[in-house]
């Protein structure tokens, strides 16, 4: 039953299973295990990024395609939901059509870019997506009458998903059961479902063909697979998943702006999460996203302490300053591409006796 | 050993997952033409590329003039006096004939006397000296490719199917040129499918099949022994009859 749910793709490593279970249980009971607004924010962010990073892995890990437009699709989803809620009111109808419209637009964009530039080389696609995504981000911030520009959009969501809505009047296990909790579980379950869907996709015949195309496009073509078709489909699928993750973010934050969805920084974060977690293993997305966001949220405090401690040594203290954590991640990133391209998950699976 | 300029012993070459050379043993005596025969896919081109260092041998060793050259980089192998005329000719079509020749003279400016000799061997080199190499015909590109290989004196020239797809008149010109080249102390290792042409200029011969040398000896023995020809040529030429 459980194996079927995972589409037969089990973690295949004891330690990995334990880690994944820890993540799953922590996220499932986050409101009760780690009370407090900040930790709930972190948990929701982890859920959403697991979907986002896994959808990126569909491209990078399973299809061998580097795209820099993933945040564009993420943003399209978020803005779709945000604009619908903003224009046609905080009801479920607009929430649903906004989300669907975002996913559809993302799919069409991905189709256009894919058909246009996947025929040539991986490098070409990477460059085109980088250019298109940057232009899109600028464009969105220019269209301030619609998108709120750099300030973004603040909007209302259905009342049942806000802290103002009380489900039960008493606290349960010291936690207030309100709309925010409902919203969290909406994010959690939606993320879980999307993740399982992706797991199914990569373990389907389609997913196996994708990997064959990745490993030897020339040969796959010779056997008769239509390489461009497979790659474009993967791009579209990955874009739709990213858009849905964006919609979840829009619902959760009740705010959508360029900085939270479209920025190049987020794109780089996604890249780091996929590679450090492990390319071509969706479980890598889980570990990558979790570790990265935890580090982003909490490690910087630790580095602050280190910077404090070394403040007498001028250069060292600058190097370990909390703002410089990306420096160390960059180094870690390069090293992992060289030495363990299959990331944490790959290491764990290889270490299995 | 001194009379063998090149010795290939037990060489294996892998290209990706494919095991192309499976223990090639080949000797090229100094000062003559050695012809390498074999059907398509037998490993002739791979043998030349492995000698040139363009593929790495996974096993075995290659000695040139008694020095081990296995594992050296291609430019170093080239600088020891081996030139290479690849099957696709490797002409730089974006450059002129003159520029192609300038680059081929890697160690010094072009020796004008030698260039005169080459122009006599291959008249088109002179005629189209300033033309873009991309505008040359197939035969002219082949001449340019050979001319590049001999613009500086080399001890060994590896030539991969110089007559492929050429008109009979040009094949004859090419054969004459190679014969004249032979007179200048240059050793030639020639891959050829055209047995008629090969038999007229070859001194020694080796026949390849499935990544191994299956016969080697003196060319005359092979041309005079119909039964052996039948046996080996059946292998090497059937695809081209």
């Amino acid at each position: 039953m459980l194996t079927r749910l995972l589409s037969g793709d089990t973690p295949r490593s004891g330690l990995l299973t334990v880690l994944l279970l820890i993540v799953l249980i922590s996220l499932a009971f986050a409101p009760f295990l780690f009370p407090g607004t900040k930790s709930l924010e972190t948990a929701a962010r982890i859920c959403i990024f697991i979907v986002l990073v896994a959808s990126y892995d569909l491209l990078l890990g399973y299809s061998g395609i580097v795209s820099f437009a993933h945040t564009m699709f993420f943003g399209i989803g978020a803005y779709g939901t945000a604009l619908a809620l903003n224009t046609s009111g905080p009801n479920y109808g607009s929430l649903i059509w906004g989300t669907l419209a975002g996913a559809l637009v993302a799919a069409l964009f991905a189709l256009a870019i894919g058909l246009f530039s996947l025929r040539v080389k991986a490098i070409f696609f990477a460059m085109v997506t980088l250019a298109v995504a940057s232009a899109f981000a600028v464009f969105v911030s220019q269209m301030s009458w619609l998108t709120g520009g750099e300030d973004g959009l603040n909007y209302k969501i259905p009342r049942e998903l806000t802290p103002a809505f009380k489900l039960v009047n008493e606290k349960v296990l010291g936690v207030r059961i309100n709309g925010k909790l409902v919203a969290y579980y909406l994010v959690f379950f939606a993320s879980a479902v999307l993740f399982l869907v992706m797991l199914r996709v990569v373990n389907s015949p389609f997913g196996r063909t994708l990997k064959a195309v990745r490993d030897n496009a020339f040969r796959a073509e010779a056997i008769g697979y239509r390489v461009v078709w497979y790659r474009t489909t993967a791009t579209v699928l990955s874009a739709v998943m990213a858009a849905l993750a964006g919609s979840l973010l829009a619902i959760w934050l009740r705010y959508t702006g360029p900085a939270t969805t479209l920025s190049m920084e987020i794109m780089i974060d996604i890249l780091l999460m996929v590679v450090i977690g492990g390319m071509g293993t969706l479980y890598g997305a889980v570990l990558g996203a979790t570790l990265f966001i935890l580090a982003q949220t909490y490690l910087q405090n630790l580095m602050g302490v280190a910077a404090e401690a070394t403040s007498a040594v001028p250069l060292v203290s600058t190097l370990v300053a909390p703002e410089r954590w990306l420096l160390w991640l960059g180094v870690l990133f390069i090293l992992s591409v060289y030495f363990f391209p299959s990331g944490i998950v790959g290491r764990l699976r290889a270490g299995r006796a | 050993m001194a009379d063998n300029l090149l010795t290939v012993s037990g060489v294996h070459t892998l290209i990706g997952p494919y095991h192309i050379l499976q223990g090639v043993d080949l000797v090229v005596p100094e000062g003559g033409v050695t012809v390498l025969l074999g059907r398509n896919g037998a490993g002739k081109t791979t043998t030349l590329r492995t000698i040139m260092g363009l593929w790495n041998a996974s096993q075995g060793e290659i000695r040139f003039d008694d020095h081990l050259i296995t594992g050296l980089d291609t430019p170093d192998i080239s600088r020891r006096g081996i030139a290479y005329v690849p099957e696709d000719m490797g002409v730089f079509t974006d450059l002129t004939v003159a520029e192609n020749m300038t680059l081929a003279a890697a160690n010094a400016p072009i020796d004008q006397k030698r260039l005169g000799w080459i122009k006599a061997l291959f008249p088109p080199i002179g005629t189209f000296w300033n033309a873009s190499a991309g505008t040359l015909s197939g035969g002219q590109k082949q001449m340019l490719s050979v001319a590049r290989a001999i613009i500086e004196p080399r001890r060994l020239i590896l030539i991969d199917e110089p007559t492929k797809g050429l008109a009979p008149a040009i094949i004859k010109a090419m054969t004459d040129a190679l014969r004249e080249l032979k007179e200048t102390d240059t050793t030639i290792l020639l891959v050829e499918q055209n047995f008629a042409m090969a038999s007229t200029i070859g001194d020694t011969v080796a026949v390849m099949d499935d990544g191994r040398i299956i016969h080697s000896g003196v060319m005359r023995e092979l041309t005079e022994d119909d039964a052996m020809q039948e046996k080996l040529m059946g292998l090497s030429l059937e695809a081209h009859q």
């Binding site: 025929r119 460059m127 180094v331 990133f333 | 033309a131």
Partner: protein
């Protein structure tokens, strides 16, 4: 063999085809003319055209190294923008040290200060290019996916190091006296600095063309772009050639960084990755590996960006994307597709 048997295949190219071969070169004046019609006012048009050419030249300087590196070794460096930023920061630092010279009314002192700044920037970025090639790029030759990832990682680290060395804030610097102000031509005001940028860019392009056409290194680069293996078989170490080209390209990016910085008078650690968007568009339009294509592409992008910034500022960047799409529909490999033997 008779001479007649081997006639060259140089036939007279039909006029129509000749037109299409020349068309890419004509695109630039065509776009300028289109701009004139759309803008209407010749004075504004002249100002914008000079601005566009200046921007194009600066992008060309930054992009040229990238495209040759790709042509020669099939390596695309996503961290190229780091050299632009580092160059700008080094240049600014030197100019700040030489504040006495830049503020002086003497043109010679101004020029000397800028030249020293450019030289310093190019030396530092050239050396950085050496380190980048050895440490970051060399281990991943031939693997495009890893190349993209690793050079991107290099960009992150380089940007962070800029923060470490120069602090987190953007730097401001006014241009030296001699490069400030404008020349008035009829009703059009043309900034002096833009003319300088056009001159430097043009000089560099001509120098590059000369080197590629008339020197042995240039011949080797062109031959290597087409067939690297054959260049090695002729006895040349293409890796060393590549390292030289990579360092030169990095130094040119550094030069572009200084020029861009002086143009904007403000620099940030992120400027490199912002400009890289334009650089990539230009390289794609020109045809990966082609210097001439890169030059034409840069001028087209520079002009178009300035015209649209005037006509419809909100779609400036989108318009360059549209240009890229249009060019690729016409020639899927860019204006001048590069011949590859393999």
């Amino acid at each position: 063999m008779s001479e007649t048997a081997i006639k060259p295949r140089i036939e007279k190219v039909p006029l129509r085809e000749q037109f299409f071969q020349k068309l890419p070169v004509l695109l630039v004046p065509m776009l300028a003319l289109l701009g004139l019609m759309a803008i209407g006012n010749p004075a504004s048009w002249l100002t914008l055209t000079v601005a566009g050419l200046a921007m194009g030249m600066m992008i060309f300087i930054m992009a040229s190294g990238l495209t040759v590196v790709f042509g020669l070794m099939d390596v695309i460096n996503f961290g190229h923008g780091a050299f632009v930023a580092v160059g700008a920061f080094v240049g600014f630092t030197v100019l700040a040290w030489l504040a006495g010279w830049t503020a002086s009314p003497s043109v010679m002192l101004n020029l000397a200060a800028v030249l020293i700044a450019i030289l310093a920037a190019m030396v530092v970025t050239g050396l950085l290019g050496y380190a980048f090639e050895r440490v970051i790029v060399m281990p991943v030759y031939g693997e495009h996916l890893k190349q993209i990832l690793v050079t991107m990682g290099g960009l992150i680290v380089a940007q962070q190091m800029i923060y470490v060395v120069w602090g987190p804030d953007e730097l401001h610097l006014s241009r030296p006296e001699a490069f400030q102000g404008s020349i008035v031509l009829g009703e059009a005001a043309i900034e002096k600095y833009r003319l300088v940028a056009v001159a430097i860019g043009l000089a560099l392009f001509l120098a590059m063309r000369h080197i590629l056409k008339n020197t042995k290194v240039g011949l080797l680069v062109r031959a290597g772009v087409e067939n690297g293996e054959m260049v090695e078989a002729l006895g040349y170490r293409i890796r060393r050639l590549f390292l030289i080209v990579f360092m030169t390209g990095s130094a040119l990016a550094g030069l572009g960084g200084v020029m861009w910085g002086l143009y904007q008078e403000t620099i940030t650690a992120h400027m490199g990755s912002e400009i890289m968007v334009l650089v990539f568009i230009v390289v794609i339009i020109g045809g990966l590996g082609s210097v001439e294509g890169c030059f034409i592409g840069a001028l087209l992008v520079g002009l178009l960006a300035n015209y649209t910034a005037f006509l419809a500022p909100k779609v400036a960047l989108i318009s360059t994307i549209a240009l890229m799409v249009a060019i690729l529909m016409w020639r899927p490999q860019g204006i001048y597709p590069v011949v590859k033997a393999k």
